[in-house]
């Protein structure tokens, strides 16, 4: 049902839409501006605008950057198969549990903890774990655990899992909300195992949410800086290269181009997900309407 007030003057409604669009524009303005400058041959502050792809060519011929892209992709590839099943299990646990408050607290509070604070705590935690395992090694003679928590890919992945899990949980929860559990119960009554009922009945219906969560994890991995830079050890990620360039030499034209690549990829992926989801929801609503009112 539409909640629009027919008696409200049209100009007031337009004014409110204007305010909303203005807010979206302001939030997106830094991104638009970055992209705009990245195509200017003369860079920021120039009086004239000469369109060019030169800065993008420079970025793609930068070996350090290509290496950093590879490392970031690797982090995303390792994080994905761990965090997605965790997210699925957490969402299912939340739906079935009577202790919802604790689950919500543990899963969503990482959203509220500032990146620098969590990263500092994890950094000291990993260093202490290493010392603990070294001590155990000295007593037991088992030294294989000594270097497990040295700063590197594993610690960076753990940081990313803690960071991305709340997002995965919420996205999957939203899609799971539409799923009726009676379907799983019916499948189980007909003799399907719990796994088969999940894989053949529930998963196809929440697939869109799971794929969206995967896209979010990749985007968040590429966007994340603070946790990864403190926990990654020796290698460079996309954002750490970007930040070191920005802080050391200021925003160069290549920095604008790099930032634009990351932003545009994220915006395109998210927009594609949103459009596909909107089309599918529309189709589903149309089908429901046809079933409910076949003569209309």
């Amino acid at each position: 049902m539409s909640l629009r007030d027919d008696f409200q003057p049209k100009w007031k409604l337009l004014l409110k839409w204007g305010w909303l669009s203005f807010a979206v524009f302001i939030l997106m303005a830094p991104t638009f501006y970055t992209v705009y400058i990245s195509f200017n041959e003369l860079g920021f502050g120039a009086k004239y605008y000469n369109f060019t792809f030169q800065w993008y060519e420079n970025v793609f011929s930068d070996k350090q950057l290509i290496g950093a892209l590879g490392w970031t992709m690797l982090l995303a590839i390792i994080t994905l198969p761990i965090v997605i099943p965790f997210g699925l299990l957490s969402a299912k646990l939340y739906k079935q549990s009577n202790q919802k408050v604790w689950i919500v607290f543990i899963l969503l509070s990482p959203l509220f903890v500032p990146a620098d604070i969590l990263a500092s705590a994890l950094l000291v935690f990993f260093k202490n774990l290493n010392k603990f395992f070294t001590l155990i090694g000295e007593y037991t003679g088992i030294y294989s655990l000594d270097t497990w928590f040295d700063l590197g890919i594993m610690t960076a992945v753990i940081g990313l899992i803690v960071y991305t899990l709340p997002y995965v949980f919420v996205v999957i929860m939203i899609t799971m909300a539409r799923y009726r559990n009676e379907q799983t119960e019916a499948a189980r009554d007909l003799g399907a195992s719990a796994w088969r009922a999940f894989w053949e009945i529930e998963f196809p219906q929440i697939r869109a949410g799971v794929f969206s969560a995967c896209a979010f994890v990749v985007i968040l991995t590429f966007n994340e800086y603070t946790r990864t830079s403190l926990l990654k050890g020796g290698f460079d990620t996309f954002t750490s290269v970007l930040i070191s360039q920005m802080l050391n030499t200021g925003m160069s034209e290549e920095s604008y181009a790099m930032a634009s690549i990351v932003s545009l990829v994220a915006v395109v992926i998210v927009s594609a997900i949103l459009i596909v989801t909107a089309i599918k929801t529309e189709e589903l609503e149309k089908k429901t309407r046809i079933v409910k009112e076949p003569n209309k």
């Binding site: 409110k16 909303l20 739906k95 903890v113 000291v124 929860m173 979010f216």
Partner: protein, 267 residues
């Protein structure tokens, strides 16, 4: 999550009372790190970042809450989520890029000043937009506003439509509707959004580093600077203070508004 999130945060309390050594720390019980924090200019910086975050919360409320109400009340129900998704796009662009790009936009020769001068609204460019507390507040609003809109919309979504219809039938005016319907029923969302902005405002080092200038220091920056200076107990003391601030606020919010209500529309 218990091992790699709850435990490290809880252990910050233990590590914060350890004694600092040359490159690390050793088990002891000393409150030196807390003294170092509370009896120095760090406390002043922390309180001032709290003040700036509070301003950001108020601004985000005045900008974001009307938008959430508008989407809930005036947009067709089938389109509400789609309009909300518009606010996901900026959230998906790296915060670092958004914050960094604000520098050239707000600087003396940036887009905003150029626009205002071209329109003959000002004679000389403003220099208060960057490297000042105003810059920090602008950065916080641009970074965190979507969260205020999401959380308040989520709370408003739980209000059944018939309440609006009953109010319309009874001729309830807008002011009363705002005071007696929107404000109390959106309270969990408003609280969650405010806590998010407040805590991240005092905890994310990047915004004061890039937009705040030399005097702008918050808890996140104190912690990262302490780690760079190898003063791990101080970094942990700051983390523990932040953790207690956050937990205290979340507990208070849960007692007052039952924050789990926020997840009802999606569970």
């Amino acid at each position: 999550m218990i091992i790699f999130f709850v435990l490290p945060l809880l252990l910050t309390v233990v590590w914060s009372v350890f004694e600092r050594t040359m490159f690390w720390m050793e088990p002891a019980f000393t409150l030196f790190s807390y003294e170092n924090f509370f009896f120095s200019s760090r406390l002043e910086n922390f309180l001032s970042s709290m003040f700036h975050s509070s301003i950001s919360v108020v601004c985000a409320f005045f900008i974001g809450f009307p938008i959430a109400i508008f989407i809930r009340r005036r947009v067709k129900q089938v389109a509400q989520h789609r309009v909300m998704l518009l606010f996901i796009l900026p959230f998906m662009v790296s915060e670092i890029i958004r914050i960094f790009a604000l520098r050239p936009i707000l600087s003396r020769n940036g887009v905003v000043n150029s626009f205002l001068m071209d329109m003959n609204l000002i004679d000389s460019p403003f220099s208060i937009f960057v490297f000042t507390p105003t810059g920090v507040v602008i950065g916080e609003i641009v970074s965190f506003l979507p969260f205020m809109i999401f959380s308040t919309f989520l709370a408003l979504e739980a209000i059944p439509n018939y309440i609006f219809e009953v109010c319309a039938d009874l001729g309830v005016n807008r002011r009363r509707m705002f005071k007696d319907i929107f404000l109390p029923l959106a309270a969990p969302g408003l609280f969650a959004g405010s806590v998010f902005i407040f805590v991240n405002g005092i905890g994310i080092a990047l915004i004061p580093t890039i937009l705040g200038g030399p005097g702008s220091v918050n808890a996140g920056l104190i912690a990262t600077q302490a780690i760079i200076a190898l003063d791990f107990p101080l970094a942990m003391a700051v983390s523990a203070i932040m953790m207690f601030t956050l937990m205290g606020l979340l507990y208070l919010g849960h007692r007052l508004f039952n924050l789990t209500k926020l997840l009802e529309p999606i569970s």
